[in-house]
Amino acid sequence: MSKKEFFPMDGDRTKYPEIKSDGTADIDLSSHKYIKLWHGPNHPGITGNMAVELTLCGDEVVEGITHVGYLHRGFEKLMERRKYIQNFPLVCRIAVPEPDYNEYNYATCIENLTGIDVPEKGMWLRTLTLEMARLQGFLMWIGGMAGAIGFGTVGQWANYCRDLVLDRFEELTGGRIYHIYILPGGVRNDIPEGFKDRMEKNLREIEGFMKDIRRAFFDNYVFKKRSVGVGYIDPAWVFDYGIVGPNARAAGFKHDIRKNYPYAKYAELDFEITTAKDSDIYTRAFLRFEELLKDIDLIRQILDKMPEKGDHISKVSNMMNLKIPAGETYVRSECTRGEYGYYLVADGSEYPRRVNVRGPSYTHGVALLEKMLVNVNIADVAQLMVSLHTYPPEIER
């Protein structure tokens, strides 16, 4: 596909607005050529609670400014005022749809700095929850993606499928959304009897729905017409903008933390990194769909390989009094949006000195989005945002 095909109206696009010598757009609202339009914070086409202040020229976006702060709860600061163990109910709220990555990263930070071991089965169970989190995260995302361009029914199917995974989460961890399952030393509870069979039943049902979703959504002339060639991410931006996960892989970057820096039990699992080339909304959407199907396969592999017996958590010192010697560590893992990282600095006290959360949404949802919004049609703003897969709480942690 040629560049011309990606940008069919290329050429005249730079006319409005004119770019000033300092690189910013010269937008004169009194000229009546432009209109300001707030997209969000309450809008079905926005992912979570954030807003984009759009400047339109006709139906074309000439400038987009992201506004966050609707969700700011100061997680990182709050964590400095709580004992290490008390932060587990807190960290999961940093990425609501995928709390497990926060739990895993945070717990692993503590383990790295204290030398707590995780037993074999505990590690398998962690891997299981991480993959289940990816699966339900993608399912929710498909719902959002379809909903953003009016495919409400597909959204309902996807969310039903997600509910099936949440049922299994509920059974395994005791919670549907906030699992608080991964703790230093392993996981909180062993796998219930018959879990594998029930999971398999759910996975089959999900696969059935995925076949329909593929027919109804991905093999769909309307969706293709709306998404192919729209929302192009230039591979040259990947490093400049810190683009990770499916957004980078759809631009041809073979980068997946699970494979490049294997953690948990991923080294023992059989899978390949999914990549694509075209880097538009459709490519990213389809790549996520493929990853979703791979997650189903990975969950099967994990349940097959998980040992039946063994401790799910190791013996730990008193978590109420846990002090971590001065030091720092960075732990990363591959969530649905890409590299999710926790940087933890300990100062020898019972409280973390600093926790920095590297959520992929931060780069995707602010800098990259603002860049990509320019020259996009107003009707494509919602699907463009969803195609970047951002979670605002991750930006405002």
Binding site: R82, I85, Q86, N87, F88, P89, L90, T153, Q156, W157, Y160, D167, E170, E171, T173, G174, G175, Y178, I180, G186, R188, N189, D190, P192, D212, R215, A216, F217, D219, N220, Y221, K224, K225, V228, D311, H312, I313, K315, V316, S317, N318, M319, M320, N321, K323
Partner: protein, 597 residues
Amino acid sequence: MGTLKDILSPFSVWKQVLKEPVTIKDPLNRAGSDRYRGFHQNEIDRCIGCGTCEAICENEAIDMVGVASIASKDGDSGLRPMVDYGRCCWCALCVDVCTTGSLKLSNVYTWVDTDPDNFRFIPGIDKKPWDNAEKGYVKPDNYELYPLERVSMDHLHPEERDHSFIEIMKGYSDEEALIEADRCVSCGICTATCPAHMGIPEYIKAIRNKDVEEGLRIMYETNPLPEICGRICTHKCETVCSLGHRGDPISIRWLKRYIADQVPESAYADVLRQDSVEQNDKKIAIIGAGPAGLSAAYYLRQLGYQVKIYEKLQAAGGMMRYGIPEYRLPYDQIDKDVNYILSQGVDIQYNVEVGKDISFSDLHKQYNAVYVATGLHQGRSTRIPGTDHKSVYQAIELLRKITNNEEIEVAEKIVVIGGGNVAMDITRSLARMQKEKYGKVQIIATSLEAEGKMPADLEEIVEAREENATINPGWGPREILIENDKIKGLKVVKCLDVFDAEGRFNPSFDESEEAFFEADMVVESIGQGADLGFIAPEFMEQLEKDHRGRIMVDPLTYQSTLPWLFVGGDIIEGPDVIHGVANGHKAAKGIDLFLNK
């Protein structure tokens, strides 16, 4: 990009029209999973109100509140957790950390109520629809947020110790103390129960902070005998320790000893140095240099009073020195604590018996207040036939002679009557001496109480047996058989019960079941009494006494009905060291209150 397939394909999913709707038909009646973290349940009788759930709750959703139907007592704060569902996030860390395992989350998760106040409630007390729900989240068995096993202490093995008086317990190493101190959840149930209300969680925290000097300062706020109490305290704190409900209680006593052991005597003055105390010229006489007398002396000096102790024996310590054998409490450790107290400017006169060398009324005249803490040094006799024989001894007298290095009779076969700690002390002391003298141990300790009901600490009984002493409980002594002026042994009958239906001491026996313990020597150790003969009759008459003839004192100040006379130590409560320390401290405050009225 578009093909005919892309136009037709979406129509293939029309089959979904025929399927059931995917939404849940009745979300209110969908049961939560077996381990769902729903609404709180608390087994109110099992809960001890330790407040660990409140401490771990990161949302501050739990408040410990008083409950009308539950009174506070030793081991139970009387408080119960109140949960605020405006704050709770159902993480269930409160369940995981619960020391008794009383807290659970049911799998019920729907609840409609029109009154917002109802969403702050005390689980188990305020009735809720889910109170009887059986399923829900309970802490998994093989996962703990804190270790439940105690760090054991290195000690001499029976064959190393059964012939010597070297201290058995070797004390914690730095590493062991840190691990043990780490287990504490700082609930403070121990502090409430300790007669002296020592700042236990605080000094344990000092160990975790590797600041033993701070730990020593905290201990001296409430107890000036840490080396001693760190070895032989009756540790009521450990009995009630919240961790003891599901695991081993924290080794509070050994941790106390660890702190005191780490600070050398020479450093005490520096570590415990305090701003100069304003001195006054009021004089207080203390009779008896036991734990209560020493404690009162220390805290009176802290208040600036001029203190003089009159001690009947050659050295200070009272029953701690003359009752407790050296293998449990070495004399140099007693000296360490005593020396520091005396170094605070306490005047002490040994070998002075009040009532004989100095009269009680003289003390009244010379001093502004008098504190009597003479303890229980008079052994009681069973008064069975034969107790007047010369080879029948009182345990307390023998222990005193052993401390004083006086020659005592050690027969080849000995019977000890008594099942308390003093009986174990004399049994184990004599066993050591038999081992030394005869190369073997032939000593039997017998008590009215049956196995498992003996008042002695279990570890004392176990260790005595390890040292080859025979403990044969559940017998009532009947007669000491004497032939040719020589003891042949003790005749006993089976004791069925020590107490009657009303709980009073009234042993019942099965006379048909007899036994005979061969012995050349008998030691009686069935309790001690106070000898208050030194208090002149004119004062004794003015003292209010209870129905058993014991002196009554104000429970807060230990002041008797003679305003200038304060009484404490084992005479009033205990008998043990920590009660003495506690009431000595209270008496010091009481004397201060009396003299500054």
